[in-house]
Symmetry: none
Subunit: 229 residues, 4 copies
DNA sequence: CATGAATGAGCGTTCATTCAT
DNA sequence: AATGAATGAACGCTCATTCAT
């Protein structure tokens, strides 16, 4: 896991002294990583700090060198998990070059990568489950992650509408509809799907179907005429 | 405390017993209702039986007259919450009369009603959060609710494809994509949205947008030509 | 509390039911008694709640049915220990009949009885040891016990001076000098003297000597001539 | 923190080593001084070694270079605090010259000085509070300090009686009565009085009143006739 | 000599569970 | 049937103690 860091060419025997210092710096994220895994699996309250410590390979007391309380650990887990999610999306939006469909698809695809390949998806599930118990954290998360993410999609949709690539629509609502399958699939994989590992590897198929439906809808071209209820 | 009930003059103990009997039958669902509310709000582990009892207006010991343990209560909550959800959908499917689009729309609309107007949505959130801690319950839930619900949508989609109303598609995956916005919105309302009650009343707008996108997709008719990545 | 409802006349065999109730009422003082004993012996911090519970013959959890925390238990110990100490002294003072010397002696004697025959002396030691850790409690104790006790002695001294039985003196300071041997002896018995039980039974001798010195001083009548430094 | 001492011009690294050596000898008593202060304020059990170290300006590990354990530190605190208290008194007694009243007064005055101007009074309070937890230390303290101190007063009283300056009395008991106001005042100042700094400066007045009462008693000369109870 | 990261036994506190009433 | 007092195992957190640096 952390073995590759020393491999910078010539250096030879320093690792001895570094061990302490490296640990000291590396510890917090080792700990939050362990905590995230267990929080996601069992929930905040059902996770014992002994287990977090054991999973991180330290003693229980060590946790308290880095975090004041279980709650502080939770907050750190969320905070750390939030950091890098949306930056690529914002960068992508900033470069106006992309064609609307490709822009949206690229953004969603990138999110999918992050949500399924990093622990970020776990943060999402965790935050959803514990929002009621940690209102302030939830508030923070909502502003820093959710609102921001929705804003990205909103912009992408608006541009597409303006460019004529997308149909006119209730953009505000559409944002939720567009994102939902992505988030839901991730949540799914962190709850039920951990048991029936079947669909875990079908990411490709899921994405294709997702984009296809998202862009063109269910209806065959002949049947695309309806009124609202 | 409530000892005055026996001291009501001549008519002796029938009304009292009536009350008792009525209570006796009603109790379990009063208790599971209270439990569900708290489980959804705080999670299983963070919910104290004292609070459940208090919310149901009984003493803590009374819970154990109806449920063997906290876990048994949890299972009862799930079981009770599962019962009636899908039956209308299955009935709807059984009557082959409906036109595919209306069929799907009707089914989803009915689900939405139930998920947002009854505590069933809470069960869904609860089960998602606790699946890791109650594998057997999760298994059961998956088979009795999720698989069955997916099967309904799957059938509806297949019929639509066969009838030419829906485009050919990867039905297996499409099921998730179709259902996701509905479930996600419900989950949302049980976690973050309890805080920002804004969108709570936008159900109508959400549904319109959802169906519109679901059926016709984002793209304007001119731009419906793309390859997969 | 609500037990009176069934008590309609001739009832006979109720003691069985009373056990619970009697315990419920008796418990708090059983617990504070146990706690006082251990707090005095070992100090607040060094006393484990397990030990308090064991000494009181209950389980550790039971403590929390009656006291919110260890600190609350401490406060209850102090509060309960304070209750009845000074009332007899105040009554004594209120009856103006007594001759000054007898008044003072009677009051001090009564205190001595209470301090050495009840756990009140322990409270004094405890409060002295823990005043630094519980400022508010100390404040309260000082006002409710110490200041009040000093006021009693002060009044007694003043009356004696006015009546000509006592010499003119710095009454304010004299109060401390008068009380000190009493309190000190009690403190002593709760710390060192618990080890060398020798002087424990010399209460009589101690009191005689105390009163004798207090009233007449060390000096023989011939040598009572000195200046202040 | 106090690093400015080394900055005296050109000399390079000698002062540094000097400082080390000087520290090395001074350390133990710096540490016990810090420990005493906290032990007196909070009690033994409630004092954390981190706080002792912090107050002494060293790291926690350093404590263990000088003391094997917290208990060893406690013993050192007591031992160090005991050292020089009684020697002047013994010297005073050894020189038979003084007149009895002046001898006693001189001895008590000297003790007062030491008890109120040095941390020794704190040791007394500490030992009183912790005697139950450290029987051997208490035993040692009793023999080395208390018994010795009482012996001094006893001798002084006996001489006074023999010389006719003091009345015949129960010398054994009188010792306690004589010392009590002194000790009690000191204890007081280390517990309650730390909060109401009022009387802190009244040492002079207290001593005057103390000596006056001690020697001549409360009673006016006319009223010095009474029987024992 | 000095540091401070790491440890783990121990304690205060909670809460699911039991049972006498 | 219903209560609520009592229990005790379990967990969060602390802090004396150790040891690699």
């Amino acid at each position: 896991m952390n073995g590759s860091s020393t491999a910078s060419g010539c250096a030879v025997e320093q690792p001895a002294r570094h061990k302490h210092l490296r640990r000291k710096e590396a510890r917090p994220s080792e700990l939050t990583a362990a905590a995230l895994a267990l929080f996601v699996e069992k929930g905040f309250a059902a996770t014992r700090l002994d287990d977090v410590a054991a999973l991180a390979g330290v003693s229980k007391g060590t946790l308290y060198l880095y975090f004041d309380s279980k709650e502080a650990l939770f907050k750190a887990v969320i905070r750390e998990g939030m950091v890098p999610v949306l930056e690529r999306g914002e960068a992508l939006l900033a470069s106006e070059t992309a064609e609307p469909v490709a822009l949206l698809r690229g953004m969603l695809l990138d999110w999918w990568e992050q949500l399924s390949k990093t622990p970020i998806g776990g943060v999402q599930k965790l935050m959803m489950a514990e929002a009621g118990n940690f209102p302030e954290v939830a508030q923070y998360y909502q502003e820093a992650v959710i609102d921001r993410g929705q804003a990205l999609v909103r912009t992408a949709l608006r541009r597409g509408v303006e460019a004529g690539a997308f149909r006119p629509m209730d953009v505000e609502m559409a944002v939720s509809v567009v994102i939902a399958p992505l988030l839901h699939e991730v949540l799914w994989r962190h709850s039920f799907a951990s048991r029936c590992a079947a669909s875990t590897l079908d990411g490709r198929r899921f994405l294709e179907c997702y984009f296809d439906l998202l862009l063109k809808g269910l209806c065959s071209s002949s049947g695309a005429r309806e009124e609202r209820s």
